[in-house]
Symmetry: C2
Subunit: 414 residues, 2 copies
């Protein structure tokens, strides 16, 4: 019998305990031995629970119990999670976590400590909730070069955008609904500003390319400026606006990595991913495009991913898996201004005909977009592919000529 500890009894932690207790037969068969939760670390009291005697408030009890071979960290945040996880790995215990902030900030360091101590550090639940993505990316696509990864990685923002697209709610209305339904925090910045998506694409990129890519090196733009007008023009163009985290391997070994809203065509496999669902597209040189889709968050989906990692850690006892990346001190992410893409632009402040002339003067050939309730002083278009740095100059030119650039959203092909 393997004995495990669960650090944190919040939404995910209580789900982990529930799944471990519910599917025992299945889990024992898959792990090759039964798995028992010996401790649950939480500072709160849970006296109504049938398993209340498993709770402890003292981390050192867990750390110093040699019976504990696997620890599940599901507290979130960086401190004390980082110190706890590090101590467990150094004590020869494998650790599994759902904590994307931790993996994005400290992944290379913790993977190295795990390797040195011949234990494992797994984090399937840190990206995509219940969608298997870390392991398939690492293992099943081992025979591929991963050219590109692009994903809808945050359920809250996808829910908000879906409501804007299908029910013509504006951003603040849709956000309020998401908060009411418990999908968004009272302080929604981590979601709507794209930070959560950024952590997740950093984890996927680090795994795919073998170098730790830190969130603070990644250009990150959220969805707070998206308007209903943008959604309508996107519809006229033949697509939808989604918050996309993406990473592309460049020929010189560096990586273009970015988080931003984007227009994607309705025919894209990512366009149909709605509500709180997540979808991740992996573009391999041999497999072509593979897409993984499912619930990216929630108690049981995330818990089941944590439990799958626990099972794997139990099975792998005494061996170290090759899941790994390094921090070699270099910044592998290019400055996004070096990259190029097509842009959707919404201009205001002058009669539409004048705005069109200005846009044509700046960008040459453009695709003009319309929408039903288009104001007389608004003009929208999609440009050709253009360098990001050059785009900034051209936008300055537009502004100097008296146009207001109300929206500027990238157009991506996936």
């Amino acid at each position: 019998m393997a004995k495990v500890a669960v650090l944190g009894h919040g939404v995910v932690g209580s789900g982990v305990v529930e799944v471990l207790m519910k599917n025992t037969g299945n889990i024992t068969q898959k792990a090759g031995e039964s798995i028992e939760v010996k401790y649950i670390l939480d500072i709160r009291e849970f006296n109504d629970l049938s398993y209340k005697d498993k709770f402890t408030k003292d981390f050192s009890v867990i750390l110093h119990d040699p019976e504990i071979s696997v620890v599940a960290e599901v507290m979130g945040g960086l401190s004390p999670s980082f110190e706890y996880v590090r101590a467990c790995l150094e004590a020869g215990k494998s650790v599994v976590t759902s904590n994307k902030e931790l993996v994005a900030a400290k992944g290379a360091l913790l993977l190295n400590i795990a390797r040195e101590h011949n234990v494992n550090f797994f984090f399937e639940a840190s990206v995509g909730g219940g969608i298997p993505i870390i392991r398939p990316l690492h293992q099943c696509l081992a025979a591929n070069k991963i050219n590109e990864i692009a994903g809808i990685l945050n359920g809250t923002t996808n829910f908000i955008l879906t409501k804007m697209i299908h029910e013509q709610m504006d951003f603040s209305e849709a956000l309020a609904l998401a908060q009411k339904l418990g999908y968004a925090e009272r302080n929604p910045a981590a979601d709507v500003e794209g930070y959560d998506t950024c952590r997740k694409i950093c984890i996927l990129a680090s795994l795919a390319y073998g170098k730790h890519i830190y969130p603070d090196s990644v250009y990150t733009e959220g969805i707070t400026k998206i308007t209903l007008a943008d959604v309508q023009y996107a519809d006229n163009w033949g697509g939808v606006i989604k918050l996309i985290g993406r990473a592309k391997h460049l020929e010189d070994g560096r990586c273009l990595i970015m988080v931003s809203p984007a227009l994607i065509a309705r025919t894209s496999q990512l366009a149909g991913i709605e509500d709180v669902f997540n979808g991740i597209l992996v573009r391999g040189d041999a497999t072509g495009d593979v897409v993984f889709y499912g619930r990216g968050a929630g108690k049981l989906p995330t818990a089941s991913a944590v439990v799958a990692d626990i099972i794997d850690a139990v099975k792998a006892a005494g061996t170290h898996k090759s899941l790994y990346w390094v921090d070699d001190g270099k910044n592998w992410a290019i400055n996004y201004k070096e990259s190029e893409t097509a842009f959707y632009l919404r201009l205001t402040g002058k009669p539409a005909a004048e705005l069109k002339e200005l846009a044509q003067a700046q960008f040459g050939e453009i695709e003009v977009l319309t929408q039903k309730e288009q104001p007389a002083d608004e003009f929208a278009c999609v440009t050709q592919s253009i360098n990001e740095g050059r785009m900034d100059e051209l936008v300055s030119g537009l502004t100097a000529a008296g146009a207001c650039v109300a929206s500027k959203i990238r157009v991506l092909e996936y």
Copy 2:
């Protein structure tokens, strides 16, 4: 260095050799050692190839070479594949295969032989080509009870249906195009009659439920009778017709497993899977719905799945993985007539109004469908959910009353 043999140098086999030679750095890193193709078995001559000296026509050379630790069987068919695979496993060599016919017919037996000899038998490429599905289903979803699996598992039929839906080709036109493009064989029965889909859903169901389910116990209906009229009515209903292989775990431990065309709503994640792509929906009790999407066939996608298995087999040398199911002599698949579903019906042979009355008399509440070029003597509807056996009686009733049941297609919710 690990030395492997490839049995068969057809489309997939040559792809396996290509991927192994191309991505050596990546593969060595993932496998922990380099992998060299020592032999390729084929009865044909390949004198133009740079690696022509690796070919042999004598299987016993491979079988008796103790250096060969992993054999990739990519010949297809049952004989001599089965005898070769069995001999390799009994000789202590791990085997990986893309051969769905072999796995569907002999999976339990070969998995048992592999276990007895402490080697591995992997078959990621047998379902979904380059889409990782076997391993995620087994491993990442270990913490779930798999309630249901439903998939578009055959690219050829999906291509044909896509052409019928979007370009109003009829079945024979679309089939001819598929043959011209090399997607369909000259004898297309294995694809269009659903046999290929049947083998694949049997493999997935056997893995998910732990009992070998044989193709000949599975009701299998192909797409040859689907007409453009059906496609139009489905469109009016709000969906598309897809060939679906599905398996559902019943409470008594048995399994409802079936292959048939089905109407699915346009909002379903399976509805957007077009052309030669495959998509597999896995419904777990904790994860909810997870969908895997990608190229289900083709040289490099399939080869990359075979190579991923080779890497795994090399890494797992000396250990046996728990991927497993048994043939316990029982038939775990229920008679599909015990199940129930809603049906789409297209009736002809009488004026539409009379057909409607007849349908209402037989089925009670129905949803009436229309299409633009609807003949005066045609009527289409969707029934309530109804037992399959009872449906047959009601259809007999319609026929006895002078109606012709031109189409009868299941309506599924995924």
